[in-house]
């Protein structure tokens, strides 16, 4: 039982095991559906139809996926540094301020393609700023980053309500939201692009921030695996003592890693605020920051896994919204359960199926090798 787990081929480690974990998570979620008196198969069918059955639904799926790519990358970057950033929700929320600052001030002056880089920079900066204090406290004072980032989610919620009710609300309006952005503060939808290929996205809010998200995924890959800073971050994650012994500054690394993480979470606001609602509204992240945790764990911290995991959760969000129409007993909160189950099975219980699959793989390999006469069987 306590022998080290055998090294498995990559396709098992990164493909099969996450898939099995996912299936188990969905089976348990199916039990919950059964418990509220609905058929899990029917629910799954409705969900799939809602997410992929028609092109507008697919557009929504990709729109939600864009949010989750940002927040998933955010959590993953922190994970590589051995830090658990639960504050993605608050960082995304505050990141919305950066987007709004650009869109409100320059929306009437500059075209969207000039405003986009500015909005990216400011949303990143605001998200990073919101992650800075917990990071600094972790590095300097040893305050547990998990607790401080959670507290900062609550604080962000209060701060944003304060700003939206008091400062940012246009005069004479009752709704706690900013005025609608001018044309330069609105990112173009991808409707036209998809029509070229014969898809009708309908009213789906899919917009150019999808490409920003994919670009961010590539950049995160480059950062983590192809740069000196990425190497240092991974060293910190593997062994903080080794990092210190190698002369890396722990304080600097923790703060930088968390600020990159917070910045990525903040960029999620591009999609929701500048790409869809064209105004800053109460609670616009709608839990996307938390979904990022499940996405990062599903994708095993690698952008190539995070993008499909984000699409999966986009499917759950969109399909779940459709599902709630047909099965009133199953509201969107079902997603929160599935999210928790995925985190449980893909994250905390990942060692549950691994020994079994490892042993099965070992046996399978021996059976194919032995006829060839090579006796490597007793090596392990």
């Amino acid at each position: 039982m306590s022998r080290p787990y055998a090294k498995l081929p990559r396709w098992i480690d990164y493909g099969l095991i996450p898939l099995v974990n996912l299936v188990v998570a969905f089976l348990v979620a199916g039990l919950v559906v059964l418990a509220v008196g609905e058929s899990p198969f029917e629910a799954a069918a409705l969900m799939l139809r809602g997410a992929f059955g028609y092109t507008e639904g697919f557009g929504f799926t990709l729109y939600y996926a864009t949010n989750f790519i940002f927040t998933g990358l955010a959590v993953a970057v922190a994970f590589h540094g051995g830090l658990f950033n639960i504050g993605g929700e608050g960082q995304a929320y505050v990141g919305g301020l950066g987007v709004t600052a650009v869109a409100l001030s320059l929306g009437a002056i500059l075209p969207w393609w000039l405003n986009l880089p500015l909005a990216i920079a400011l949303s990143f900066a605001f998200g990073a700023l919101w992650a800075f204090i917990p990071a600094y406290l972790q590095a300097k004072r040893g305050s547990h980053i998990v607790i401080t980032t959670i507290m900062f989610n609550f604080i962000a919620a209060s701060l944003m309500v304060y700003l939206l009710v008091g400062v940012l609300k246009p005069v004479g309006s009752m709704a706690p939201e900013t005025r609608t952005f001018d044309a330069g503060g609105q990112l173009p939808k991808l409707k036209g692009l998809f029509e070229v290929f014969g898809f009708n996205l309908g009213g789906a809010p899919l917009n150019v921030s999808l490409f920003v998200a994919l670009l961010a995924a590539v950049l995160v890959y480059v950062l983590i695996w192809r740069t000196k800073l990425g190497y240092e971050i991974r060293t910190l994650g593997f062994s903080p003592r080794a990092a210190r012994y190698a002369g890396m500054s722990q304080t600097r690394l923790i703060v930088v890693t968390m600020m990159i993480s917070g910045g990525l979470a903040g960029m999620m606001a591009l999609n929701a605020v500048m790409g869809d609602q064209y105004r800053l509204a109460i609670d616009f992240p709608q839990g996307a920051g938390f979904v990022g945790i499940a996405v990062a764990l599903m994708g095993r911290g690698h952008p190539a896994g995070i993008v499909p995991a984000a699409i999966l959760f986009g499917m759950l969000y969109q399909g779940g919204a459709e599902l709630a129409f047909d099965m009133p007993a199953i509201s969107r909160d079902m997603i929160v359960i599935i999210q928790g189950l995925v985190i449980l099975f893909a994250g905390a219980l990942e060692n549950m199926v691994r020994p079994g699959i490892g042993a099965a793989w070992q046996r399978l390999r021996l059976r194919t090798v032995e006829p060839a006469g090579e006796n490597v069987g007793e090596a392990r």
């Binding site: 306590s2 022998r3 919950v32 418990a35 509220v36 008196g37 658990f84 639960i86 204090i133 917990p134 406290l137 004072r141 040893g142 305050s143 547990h144 998990v146 607790i147 401080t148 959670i150 507290m151 900062f152 609550f154 604080i155 919620a157 209060s158 701060l159 309500v161 304060y162 009710v165 008091g166 938390f290 945790i293 764990l297 007993a329 199953i330 509201s331 909160d333 079902m334 997603i335 929160v336 359960i337 599935i338 999210q339 928790g340 189950l341 985190i343 449980l344 994250g347 905390a348 219980l349 990942e350 060692n351 549950m352």
Partner: protein, 322 residues
């Protein structure tokens, strides 16, 4: 501020710190045995929901308490299986449990009672009612001590007394019994405990179950003593604040009580300063007041916990041949 409003403040401090105290003591057992537990929040929530549901259906608050404890212990065991048997990441497991509890309470509540995730209001035998201590009426007119006895010490719900009695009990269990010695040892150096022929896993499972029982009390207190029914997300971060209190108190039972009283006091004050014109600051906004407990938690964690020494083996799964 006169005496009666001051006593009122103390009274609500005690009420507000009770759930924190239960949860922080729960975390104390778990973390002293080496199992970090970020899922106090989720366990409180599921216990609050389960006990309010059971109390609403059967009309008995004691039955509600039992069901709440069972639910919390069930979730505790999930955390135990993930972090003891399968040696998973304890923080990740805790986060998962918090999400599952948050979603499950709403889905089940909506499906069972159809009130948007609330449970029906509790009344009569479905709630914990105040207990009058002996002579509370008789001594009310005694100056100073009378109002303290009859207004603050007497007239609390039974769970409040249970919570504060748990403090010396926990101290005695941890520092004066064989079980407590082993529990602390397994959190510091599991290999030594293992060498002595004691099962690390069994010890840690017992600690995790105790943690479940106490979070069950915390949740039941929230929904059947403090409020009259369950509302969605009613824990509102109390589990995390309890965790902060535990760290602030350096994982010791009596300091945990004072830390919880401090957080409860801050909470009680923050409710009262709403709309009050303070000198220098002016009128405090509603949002600042609602954020105050969280800001103060961060400030306390940042300012005073520089020397916090968590149990040495905390968060590390135990592997025999390491």
């Amino acid at each position: 501020m006169d005496l009666s409003s001051f006593l009122d403040l103390i009274d609500s401090t005690i009420r507000l710190s009770t759930p924190l105290l239960f949860a922080a003591l729960a975390g104390l057992y778990s973390e002293r045995s080496g199992i970090f537990d970020i899922s106090l929040e989720g366990k409180m929530l599921i216990a609050a929901f389960a006990s309010a549901s059971a109390a609403a259906v059967w009309g008995s608050v004691m039955l509600g308490l039992c069901v709440g404890i069972l639910a919390a212990v069930g979730f505790s065991l999930v955390h135990g299986v993930a972090s003891i048997t399968y040696r998973g990441n304890q923080i990740v497991s805790g986060v998962a449990i918090n999400f599952i509890a948050a979603g499950l309470t709403i889905i089940l509540g909506q499906s069972w009672f159809g009130q948007g995730g609330r449970t029906p209001s509790l009344f009569g035998g479905g709630r914990f009612t105040a207990v009058e201590l002996p002579f509370a009426e008789a001594v009310r007119d005694v100056p100073v001590l009378g109002p303290i006895y009859s207004g603050v010490l007497s007239g609390q719900t039974p769970l409040v007394y249970v919570a504060f009695l748990m403090v010396p009990l926990t101290w005695w269990v941890l520092f004066r019994t064989r079980f407590g010695l082993r529990l602390r040892a397994v959190g510091e150096n599991p290999a030594a405990v293992d060498t002595a022929g004691i099962s690390v896993a069994f010890l840690r499972y017992r600690a995790v179950i105790i943690c479940g029982v106490l979070t069950g009390f915390a949740g039941a207190y929230l929904s059947t003593a403090q409020a009259a029914g369950f509302t969605r997300d009613m824990t509102a971060g109390k589990g995390y604040i309890a965790l902060a209190a535990l760290i602030f108190a350096n994982w010791k039972p009596v300091p945990v009580m004072f830390a919880c009283l401090l957080f409860g006091f801050l909470d009680a004050v923050s409710i009262r300063i709403e709309g009050v014109d303070l000198p220098l600051v002016g009128e405090v906004s509603v949002q600042l007041v609602s954020a105050l407990p969280y800001i103060l938690t961060v400030v306390l964690l940042a300012g005073f916990v520089g020397k916090a020494t968590p149990p040495r083996a905390g968060g590390v799964p135990y592997v025999k041949e390491r």
